[in-house]
Structure formats: structure tokens, C-alpha cells
């Protein structure tokens, strides 16, 4: 009986073959893979930019890049790593691929909207890089402060690429966030009440909530700037009664929650890897879940600590300093929960756990230097120096990207069905860890010795030459580590040992299905009685039994079950849309709108807007609910 169920499911869920299959896909796993490789291409671009920066700064008074090129490169490095690499790879790739698998669903709640997010992300990335290729890259930093970014001081189109590209990109992230929230609240497997949801999913829930509220202020800020630049309005123009600090407030109201948006997925990955490799459940599960949500929440109340040197009223700075200190508490809870879980468990230091160990060390260093910025006078002394660059690279590269890299090793067997090479995996970790420490640790010293950020060069004789040289060498070692990792995975993709369903004896549901998972994810919808579903052998035995009896196999249609949002009781069956050309068409029409806005062809922009409307109409004529 089971064999015919599975065969029917395969027929219903398998998408078209070839390129058209990828273009029209609504399968969250394929969309996740598209996100993954696209984000990696941007990571490569951002990495090359980083190496250009470090090579320029290898010694005093170097001329590898002209001042203008340097400013474009460091601006694009920031924009790329944040908007086109870390967020897309963590939410778009890890979130998309793993969330439905971890909660036992067959897809995301809005599969076509999910595809739309990807195509918009791709369009916005190409849009922003077009500026660079045309020699019109943004050059006022990723923070893009006015009045430097106003028309008067930046007359070229670079800043317009920035503003429109960011607005375009944030549509994608908003769609993803809404999709995650509904998926997490409605599509969990029967029995998966909120308190039985894996911590990974809590992290992504927190990220999605934060994204939804953090992006509007950014869109407002960039829209105001475009109106100032293109239509001569005066939002930021002091001479006409505008206010340049408005930009800084709006930008950082987005910008600080953004830091937690970047790092929370990494926390989620850590809470998946640690229990697996120390063979025990997370210590203080509820505290950690609560802390993940709290971090995202408190993150909205600390933005002005980026502005302590602008001369804000003392009462304001004191409030924001206090709020910035409070956010240490939820981070401390998570940190010590990971550490105590490791030391009270039975740790086996395979590659994924090594990356998490590196992450913990780097996060402690970055966290400790972060607390120091809540000491207002110290912040006012070291802000806009390399001390800050050190701090946020420990946090963003060390604490956000290390778990992503560890996560790639961890889930590689699930995606490919094969194991990576363990020895090379460990080598890549140690190279990357040593490279990271060498690249970013001396930046603390540079900052304390007075080297400002964003300088295309520096004079000798100020004690800055030695640390800069060490940093540049470190960045090459780090690159070597990443190349070893790429080589390892490319080789293992074909020649690795077969992995089987669950090579790690890991606790969450994605390991219950085949590697790689079938298009319908699970032949039978699993039922759950704890956050560590795979460590409940009785439940999995029941799944197999139900598959035999054909209960909850849902093989009559393109369906996934919906459950109640708190208790996870089976509520209804949802008919899910399948492959569709409309997401990519809508994204293409929207790209047309933004390109025309950039070149100032308002009428043509309206025509493209009409195309957007037409695609939306066609899209909605195909609602599966009919």
C-alpha cells in the first residue's frame, strides 16, 4: 500500500524538468537552492571587494585603487555582504530549505510568493551591480549619510542605484518574512505545539518579525532621499528646513534590528548543530526560545547608540546606552546555554561543531567589544574607528557567517545525499578561524591607536603599518580556508561517501526523510510530541505504521495540512499551488519599473507598472481554491 501512495505523491509533486522547471518552480527546496547559489555569487563579489580593500591597506600610501574606486568598493562590500549575501543565504537559503522540513510541512504557506521573493532578490542584486559595471556605483558607504549622499555632493547615479536597489530588495525580504510567519504559525506538523517547535524555527520566527518592522523605516529613508535627489524636495536639506539627522535615525531604526536579523539565523543554526554533536537536548530550552524573540524585540530600541557622537541630548544618549546594555541579557542567556549544553553533553568535535565552537569564541569577543559601545564616552572615542570595524566583523563574520559555513557542512549530506571530507572540513575551519582572528583582531588595536574607518590610505609613522600588514595576510589565509571548503564540497558532491537519511542521528524532522528529500518532503505527515522529534523513536515508528495504513499521507492532491497556531492541532487540509510562470514575470515587470525610475522615464515606468498589474490579475485567476 505504502509503495502506491509514494508513487502517487511523486506524480503529483514532481515539477517540470530542465531549465523551465527551475524558472517556474514553487518548491521551497529548489527556491532555497537558487537562493544559495545566487547568494554565493554575491559572496564572491563581496569577498573580492574585501580583498581589494585589504590589499590597498597592506602598507601606507598605496595606490592599487584610486580614492574614488576605494569608496565604491567599500560601499559595495557593505551593501553586498548585508543585502545580497547574509540575509539571502540565511533566510532565503537556510530558512526556505529547512523550515518546512523541520516543521513537517510539504511547502511554505505561499509557494508562489516564495518564488517571487527569489526573483525580486535576483533582480535587485543585478540592478545594484549594474551601477558598478557602468562605473556609477554608490560611494557614500552602506550607511549613505546625507548631505554627502545628496545631489549636491553626489551628483552621479550611484546613490540612485543604492536607493532604488534597496527599496526593490526590501520587497523581497518583506515577502519572505510574511511567508515565514504564516508558515511557522499555520503549517506545523500535527502535535507540534509552539513549545515543541525546534529552536531553529524560533530564531527564524524572530527574524521574520524583525524584518517586517525594520524594513519600512529604510524604505521611507531611501524614498525621501530619492525625492530630494530627483524631485528637488527638502527632507534632509537644512537650508530649507530639512534635517540631516532624520536620515541617521531612520537608517539606524532599520540598521540596528538588521544586526539581529543577520545574527539570529546563525543562533538558530547553532541550536541545531550543538544538540546533535553533544548528544543532549539544549539546556534551558524555554529561556533560549524567549531570548531569541527578546533579542529581536529589544533590538528596535537601541538604534541611537550609532549616533552618540552627533551631539544628541544627554538624556537621549543615556536611555539608548541603557537599552543597549539590556540587550546583553538575552544574548548572555543564549551564549551560556550553548556553552553549558556543550560541557554537560558528550561533545564530538566534527566539522560542524568546530565552526560553532569558533562562532562562540568570536561572538564572545564581538559581544564584549559591543558592550563597550554602551559606555558613552568610550563609544564617542572609538566610533568611526577600526575598533568598530573589528567589533562588527567579529559579530557579522564571526558570529553570523561561521554558523552559516558550519551549517553548510551540517546539511550538505541532506542536500546531496553524500558526506563531505572530514579532514579537509576541519582544515578549512582552522584556516578560516586563524585567518579571521588575524584579519579582525588587530583592528581593535588600530582603532585604539586612532585609525579612522573608510580611509583609502594612511600615512606611515603612526603605528598603523604593522597591524594593517598582519590583517592583510590574515585575509589571504581566511580566503585559503574558504577555498579549501569549496574544493571539499565540490569534490564530495560526486565522490563523497553515501550519507543515508540521518548520518548524524540528529534530532529534527528533516533527517527523517531521504537525502535529498523528495519533492513532497515526507511520504506521510509526521506527528510530533517534542522539539527533538527524531529522538522519539516511538513517534517515528507510528509514522511508518500510518504510512502503511495510508493515514495522513495526503496523496489525493497537492496538499499540506494546516494546524492551529498555538497547539498544533490538525485544522484543515490546504490545496497548494504548483509550478507557475507568474512569479518570474512579475519580478521582471517590477525590474522594468525600477530601471525606468532610475533613468527617469516616468511614462515607461507607468507602462511597466501596468504590466505588474496585468501579471497580478493573471496570477490570481489561478488560485487553487477556485
Amino acid at each position: 500500500v505504502a509503495a502506491t501512495h509514494v508513487e502517487r505523491l511523486g506524480r503529483i509533486w514532481t515539477e517540470r524538468e530542465g531549465v523551465m522547471g527551475w524558472v517556474t518552480t514553487t518548491d521551497h527546496k529548489r527556491i532555497g537552492i537558487l537562493y544559495f547559489f545566487t547568494a554565493l555569487v554575491f559572496f564572491l563579489a563581496g569577498g573580492v571587494e574585501a580583498l581589494l580593500i585589504r590589499t590597498q591597506l597592506i602598507g601606507p600610501n598605496q595606490n592599487l585603487l584610486s580614492p574614488g574606486a576605494y569608496n565604491e568598493v567599500f560601499t559595495m562590500h557593505g551593501i553586498t555582504m548585508i543585502f545580497l549575501f547574509v540575509i539571502p543565504i540565511s533566510t532565503g537559503a537556510f530558512g526556505n530549505y529547512l523550515l518546512p522540513l523541520q516543521i513537517g510541512a510539504r511547502d511554505m504557506a505561499f509557494p508562489r510568493m516564495n518564488a517571487l521573493s527569489y526573483w525580486i532578490f535576483l533582480g535587485s542584486g543585478i540592478f545594484m551591480y549594474t551601477g558598478l559595471v557602468m562605473g556609477q556605483a554608490p560611494d557614500a558607504g552602506w550607511f549613505n549619510y546625507v548631505p554627502l549622499a545628496d545631489k549636491q555632493f553626489s551628483p552621479y547615479a550611484g546613490i540612485d542605484f543604492y536607493c532604488l536597489g534597496i527599496i526593490f530588495n526590501s520587497i523581497s525580504s518583506t515577502l519572505t518574512a510574511a511567508n515565514f510567519i504564516v508558515t511557522i504559525f499555520r503549517l506545523r506538523a500535527p502535535g507540534m505545539s509552539l513549545n515543541r517547535m525546534p529552536l531553529f524555527c524560533y530564531a527564524f520566527l524572530a527574524v521574520a518579525g524583525a524584518l517586517l518592522f525594520a524594513l519600512p523605516p529604510l524604505s521611507v529613508a531611501t524614498t525621501f532621499l530619492e525625492l530630494d535627489r530627483r524631485l528637488g524636495m527638502h527632507f534632509y536639506d537644512v537650508a530649507a528646513g530639512g534635517e540631516p539627522l532624520l536620515w541617521q535615525h531612520l537608517f539606524w531604526i532599520f540598521g540596528h534590528p538588521e544586526v539581529y536579523i543577520i545574527i539570529l539565523p546563525a543562533f538558530g543554526i547553532a541550536t541545531s548543530i550543538i544538540p546533535t554533536f553533544v548528544r543532549r537536548r539544549m539546556v534551558a530550552f524555554e529561556l533560549v526560545a524567549l531570548a531569541e524573540i527578546l533579542v529581536a524585540f529589544i533590538g528596535f530600541g537601541v538604534w541611537a547608540h550609532h549616533m552618540f557622537a552627533v551631539g544628541l541630548p544627554i538624556a537621549t544618549t543615556i536611555y539608548f546606552a541603557a537599552a543597549s546594555m539590556i540587550i546583553v541579557i538575552p544574548s548572555g542567556i543564549q551564549l551560556f546555554a550553548w556553552i553549558t549544553t556543550i560541557v554537560t553533553g558528550t561533545p564530538i568535535f566534527k566539522t560542524p561543531l568546530l565552526w560553532i565552537l569558533g562562532f562562540i569564541v568570536l561572538f564572545i569577543i564581538g559581544g564584549l567589544s559591543g558592550v563597550m559601545f554602551a559606555a558613552i564616552p568610550f563609544d564617542q572615542q572609538t566610533t568611526d574607528t577600526y575598533f568598530v570595524v573589528a567589533h562588527f566583523h567579529f559579530v557579522i563574520f564571526g558570529a553570523a557567517v561561521f554558523p552559516i559555513l558550519g551549517g553548510i557542512y551540517f546539511w550538505f549530506p541532506k542536500l546531496t545525499g553524500r558526506m563531505y571530507h572530514e579532514g579537509l572540513g576541519q582544515l578549512s575551519f582552522w584556516l578560516a578561524f586563524a585567518g579571521t582572528m588575524l584579519t579582525f583582531f588587530p583592528m581593535h588595536i588600530l582603532g585604539l591607536e586612532g585609525m579612522p574607518r573608510r580611509d583609502y590610505t594612511y600615512p606611515g609613522g603612526l603605528g598603523w603599518t604593522g597591524p594593517n600588514l598582519i590583517e592583510t595576510i590574515g585575509s589571504y589565509i581566511l580566503t585559503a580556508g574558504l577555498l579549501v571548503m569549496v574544493g571539499n564540497l565540490v569534490w564530495s558532491r560526486r565522490h563523497g561517501r553515501l550519507a543515508g537519511n540521518d548520518p548524524w542521528k540528529a534530532p529534527t524532522l528533516e533527517w527523517s526523510t531521504t537525502s535529498p528529500p523528495p519533492p513532497y518532503n515526507f511520504p506521510v505527515i509526521p506527528t510530533v510530541t517534542s522539539p527533538y522529534a527524531m529522538w522519539d523513536p516511538q513517534d517515528r515508528e507510528e509514522d511508518r505504521e500510518r504510512l502503511g495504513r495510508g493515514v495522513l499521507t495526503l496523496e489525493r492532491g497537492h496538499e499540506t495540512p494546516a494546524t492551529t497556531s498555538l497547539d498544533g492541532n490538525l485544522d484543515e487540509l490546504l490545496e497548494m499551488p504548483s509550478h507557475s510562470p507568474y512569479p518570474i514575470l512579475l519580478a521582471a515587470a517590477l525590474s522594468g519599473v525600477f530601471v525606468m525610475l532610475l533613468v527617469g522615464h516616468w511614462t515607461t515606468a507607468l507602462v511597466f507598472l501596468a504590466c505588474v498589474g496585468a501579471v497580478l490579475v493573471a496570477w490570481h485567476r489561478e488560485e487553487p481554491y477556485g
Binding site: P147, L335, T344, F349, M372, A374, P377, I445, L446
Partner: protein, 334 residues
Amino acid sequence: MSCRHGIPVSVLAAMTVALGGCGAQSTLDPHAEPAREISTLWWWMLAVAGTVLGGALFLLFLGWIRRREPGMPLLGQNEGLARLLVVVFGIAIPLGVNVALFVVANLVVAKVTQAPDPRTTRMTIQVVGHQWWWEVRYPGRTAVTANEIHIPVGTRVNLVATTDDVIHSFWVPELNRKIDMVPGHPNRILLEADRPGRYRGQCAEFCGLQHAHMGLYVFADTPQRFRAWLSHNASPRTAPASAQARRGEQVFDQQACASCHTIRGTSAAGAIGPDLTHVAERSSLAALAIPNTRAELSRWIRDPQHVKPGNRMPRLGLPKADFDALAEYLDGLR
């Protein structure tokens, strides 16, 4: 300048000194009370941070040496005890440390680094940020200079920081924290130096193409020397002494120079570039981009875009004799 730290030095501090020594722009080499307070705060924060990092590394090391063995020494796999550890190390201790840090840093040290009470300062200096140089004015006196601030040693100076274009940030780390120069928001900061000397500063907020070449010096002089400097700089230019210098003055007044620069005592009254009345007395040109020697000066006026690409001084393309006369004239403006 020597390195003196008020607090016992940890391993990292030793590393700091070994790696770079104390530069001429170091926050760890303070020469005034605000910078010293911040530096002391830093060493204490480093000590606490080092302890926390050490403790966490010790725990992870414990996990490493007990790999493949279940549980922790003494603790085993006791769920309640493990949770207690999280509460103590993750909530209680950070809370206590943060409250202490908040009181010390934001209530005590911040008092010293705030904008000074006007009743406690003896004089005011205005600094205006420009892309990419500093204009320095002494209100009540006609003295105007650029990229160099002279102050009397041991005197509390009220510095008013404003900008003429984009946001800059005034920062002389050995003396005090930085203060941004934001359009429409005049900010104030205390400038004071304990000992006579030269203190390097630099723009700390990204301000465009030549942000890297926007440096300045603060000279703390003895009160007598300062008074002499100020009255000299309040006076008009020294009349050119040679025929070539007189020719240079003519060139300056007739060519584009005078439309951007002021030289008091002549018809040159431009307001775009630095006041050059006593330019020869300054130690550097182009906001510390090059030393103020005759050779560098000649190179600078001939091709300013090669020395500091993107700055607002155009390449004039005058005959060689005119450039030589200009250099002779400017070099004599003491």
C-alpha cells in the same frame, strides 16, 4: 610621546605596545583629562572583558578535554544545575557588571567628556569643517588659520564645531573624544592639553573622496608663546621682501588664487579655500597631506590634483616663472 597607562597592564596591552607602540594619534596615550578618563575606562573594561572571555574559554576547554565523555565534572548531566549556570552566568552576572559599567561610564566619566559648562572655559575657538580641510577661527580676534589649532597649555577651551558642507567629525584622540560637525547643529567640546606639544587629529566621519586626507594638528603652547602667536596671526600679511615675491603677490591677486583664498592686507578675499595670510608658518599643507616645505609647496600649487585627487583647487597651468614667483611669495608669508 611616552606611553603611560594608569592601570596594571594585561597581556593584551603588552601586545598592543609590541604591535604598534603608541602612535601620534593614540587614544591610549592621553594628554588631557577627558582622554585620560576614557583610557582608564578602557583598561578596566578590558580587564573585565578578559576575565569573561577567559572563563568562557575555560569552560569550552573543559568540553574539549572531556570530548566523547558524558557530563561535566562535579555537575554531571543535572538539568537543574545546568539551568542554574545559565541563569547565573547569562543573567545575574551580566546584569551586575552592566549596572556597574553604566554608573561609572555614563554617569561619572561622561560628565568629564560632555560639552563643557561655558562658565568653566577661558576661551572659545570655532572650527568649521570643509571638504577636506579645517577652518579655525578665534572669535573676537581677526586671527584665522587652517588645519592647525593653537591653544594655551593647561587652559580649558570651548571648541565650537560646525560644518560648511557635509558631516565631518572633529577628533583629536589624545585630548578628547570626537564630536560630529552636522549641518544645522553647532556642537561644543572641551579642548585642553596638559603639556606643551603637538597632537594629531583627523576627520572621523566619512566625508567623501579625500576623507583620508583631512588631518589637523593641535599645538599646545606656553601662554606667552600662544599670546605671541595669536597677535601675530591676527595681523595682516608680511609684505613681500623680494621682487620675485612681489611678482608672486601680483600673480596671486590676478589669477584664480584670489577668488578662493584670503590673504589679509591684500585684495585677495576669497572664502572657499583656507586663509593663507600666514601660511608659511604652518607645518603642513592640504590638511596634513604633505609637509610644508618649499619643494612640496611648489609641487602642490603646480598640480594639486596629483597630490590630493578630487580637492577643489584647480590646476592653473601658469608659466613656470609665475609658479616660481607664487612659491616665493607664499613661502614668505610668515
